[in-house]
C-alpha cells in the first residue's frame, strides 16, 4: 500500500499531472489529475497518510483541475475543474484551487453514494461509540469536530455523516477538516500539534484553512462505528456550555433536516432517521469555550458506560 506521503513531493506532483492518482472516499474511487502546484501541495500535506488506490480499476468520479484555458496557462491566475469533462462549478482564483478537491469529494459522496444515507454533519467516535453532529454551516460543528479529533476522539468526518442503512453503521472518510475565519486560530491555539494547509483568502465564506486529519483516524478509515449520540452544536459567543436533551421527534427532525436529498431517499431515509432517533439520545449543545463543550460531551460518554435505563417501546407501523 502506497501512501501519498511516501512519495517525494516533486515525483508526486509529476504523477498527479501525468497519470493522475486514484483516491477512495466512502467507497467511491476518485481519479484526480492536476498540473496546479497548489493541488499537489494540498494533497501532499493534508492527504499524506491516505493510501492511493491501484491505478487500474473503475473510477466512480473523475476530476481534472487545470488552468482555465490557454491564456491562463500563461498567466497562471485562474483554475478550472472538470468532472468527467464537464465544468464543476465556476473557475476559481489559483489560491482557492484546493477547495475544488474538497468540494468535489463532498459532492461525489453526497450525490453519488447510492447505497448510503448522507447527512450534513460531523462524526467522531470514541470507545466504539459515535456521535453524529448534524448542523448548518457556520454552527461551529467543524471547529468542535477538530477539537474532539485532538482530544481522543477519532475523526470520521467534519462535513458528511455517511450512514449504511443495512446495519446502521457509520462510514469514515477521515478527510481534512475545513475551518473558517476565527476558528483557524482557535484550533491552532487549542491543538498546537495540528497541521494546516495555507489560509485560503478571498472565498465566499471568508478565510478557509484545511486541517490535516490525525494519522490514527486515517489509518482506521476502514473501521465503521455505531451511532450512540446525536448532538447538534451551536457556537454562541459568551454562552455557558449547555447540553439540552431533545425528544425523539426532535432528533428525527435533526436527522431529516440534515439528510442530503431526503425527498429522494424515500422510505430508506425515513427509516434511517427513525432508527437513529430511537437508538441515540439526542441533545442540543450551545457553547463558547471548546474545553467546556468537550467536558460535557465527555460526561455523556462516561455516563454511557454505566448501565442505561430501559426506554419505553414506541408505537410504529409499516
Amino acid at each position: 500500500m502506497t501512501r501519498i506521503g511516501d512519495y517525494a513531493p516533486a515525483y508526486f506532483a509529476a504523477l498527479l499531472a501525468t497519470r493522475g492518482i486514484r483516491l477512495e472516499s466512502a467507497g467511491l474511487a476518485l481519479r484526480l489529475w492536476s498540473d496546479i502546484p497548489e493541488i499537489a501541495d494540498h494533497l501532499g500535506l493534508l492527504y499524506a497518510d491516505h493510501a492511493l488506490l491501484a491505478d487500474e480499476g473503475v473510477d466512480d468520479y473523475r476530476l481534472r483541475i487545470q488552468w482555465d484555458g490557454a491564456l491562463q496557462r500563461v498567466l497562471k491566475r485562474r483554475v478550472a475543474a472538470l468532472t468527467d469533462g464537464r465544468p464543476f462549478f465556476a473557475p476559481l482564483p489559483r489560491n482557492l484551487s484546493p477547495t475544488f478537491v474538497e468540494g468535489c469529494l463532498n459532492w461525489s459522496v453526497a450525490f453519488e453514494s447510492a447505497s448510503y444515507v448522507i447527512v450534513h454533519g460531523a462524526v467522531v467516535e470514541r470507545d466504539g461509540l459515535a456521535t453524529i453532529m448534524p448542523a448548518d454551516s457556520g454552527s461551529g460543528k467543524s471547529t468542535l469536530c477538530a477539537a474532539l479529533a485532538h482530544r481522543g476522539w477519532r475523526l470520521l468526518s467534519d462535513e458528511l455523516t455517511i450512514l449504511r442503512p443495512a446495519d446502521l453503521q457509520l462510514i469514515s472518510s477521515a478527510r481534512p477538516v475545513s475551518l473558517k475565519n476565527a476558528a483557524i486560530d482557535l484550533i491552532r491555539g487549542f491543538a498546537p500539534e495540528a497541521r494546516f494547509g495555507p489560509v485560503l483568502r478571498g472565498g465566499t465564506k471568508g478565510d478557509v484553512a484545511f486541517m490535516r486529519p490525525p494519522a490514527d483516524a486515517v489509518m482506521r478509515v476502514g473501521e465503521t462505528a455505531a451511532p450512540a449520540f446525536v448532538i447538534s452544536p451551536r457556537y454562541q459567543a459568551g454562552a455557558e456550555a449547555r447540553l439540552t436533551p431533545v425528544t425523539r421527534a426532535e432528533a428525527f427532525r435533526m436527522m431529516v433536516d440534515g439528510t442530503v436529498l431526503y425527498r429522494t431517499s424515500g422510505r430508506r431515509g425515513f427509516e434511517t432517521a427513525c432508527r437513529i432517533a430511537e437508538s441515540c439520545p439526542a441533545y442540543r449543545l450551545s457553547y463558547s469555550r471548546l474545553d467546556d463543550a468537550l467536558e460535557l460531551i465527555g460526561g455523556l460518554y462516561a455516563a454511557r458506560r454505566a448501565p442505561a435505563p430501559v426506554r419505553a417501546a414506541a408505537a410504529s407501523g409499516a
Binding site: 425528544t247 425523539r248 421527534a249 428525527f252 427532525r253 431529516v256 431526503y262 425527498r263 429522494t264 424515500g266 422510505r267 425515513f270 427509516e271 427513525c274 432517533a277 430511537e278 414506541a314 408505537a315 410504529s316 407501523g317 409499516a318
Partner: protein, 99 residues
C-alpha cells in the same frame, strides 16, 4: 370533499401499505411512500390517524374511539378535532371518504 359537522361518510386511510409511521410520546411522524412526503402530527391528529388506520370509520365513530384512546387527555372539542384532522389528512392525501 372535506368533512363537515354533519358528515356521516366513512373515512379510511389511503394505501396504508405505503405508509411507515412512528409515535414517540405522542409525537407522530408518517412517511407516505406514494408521495414521498414525511408528515408530523401532534398527539390528537396522530391518534385520529392511528385509529382510522385500524379501520374505516365515520367521524362520529372516530370521536368515540378518540375519547377512549386518549382518555382524560382527549381534547374537549372532539367533533372539531376529528373534523379538522380528517380535512387535514384529506389534504395531505392520507385519508379519504369512501361512502
Amino acid at each position: 370533499m372535506p368533512p363537515d359537522d354533519s358528515d356521516a361518510r366513512t373515512w379510511r386511510i389511503i394505501h396504508p401499505e405505503a405508509l411507515s409511521w412512528r409515535c414517540w410520546d405522542g409525537d407522530y411522524v408518517i412517511f407516505n411512500g406514494q408521495s414521498g412526503l414525511t408528515h408530523a402530527l401532534d398527539v390528537t391528529a396522530g391518534a385520529i390517524f392511528e385509529l382510522a388506520l385500524r379501520g374505516a370509520a365515520t367521524p362520529a365513530e372516530l370521536q368515540a374511539r378518540l375519547a377512549a384512546f386518549l382518555g382524560p387527555g382527549a381534547p374537549p372539542d372532539l367533533r372539531g378535532a376529528v373534523t379538522s384532522t380528517l380535512a387535514r389528512l384529506d389534504q395531505l392525501g392520507l385519508a379519504e371518504a369512501v361512502a
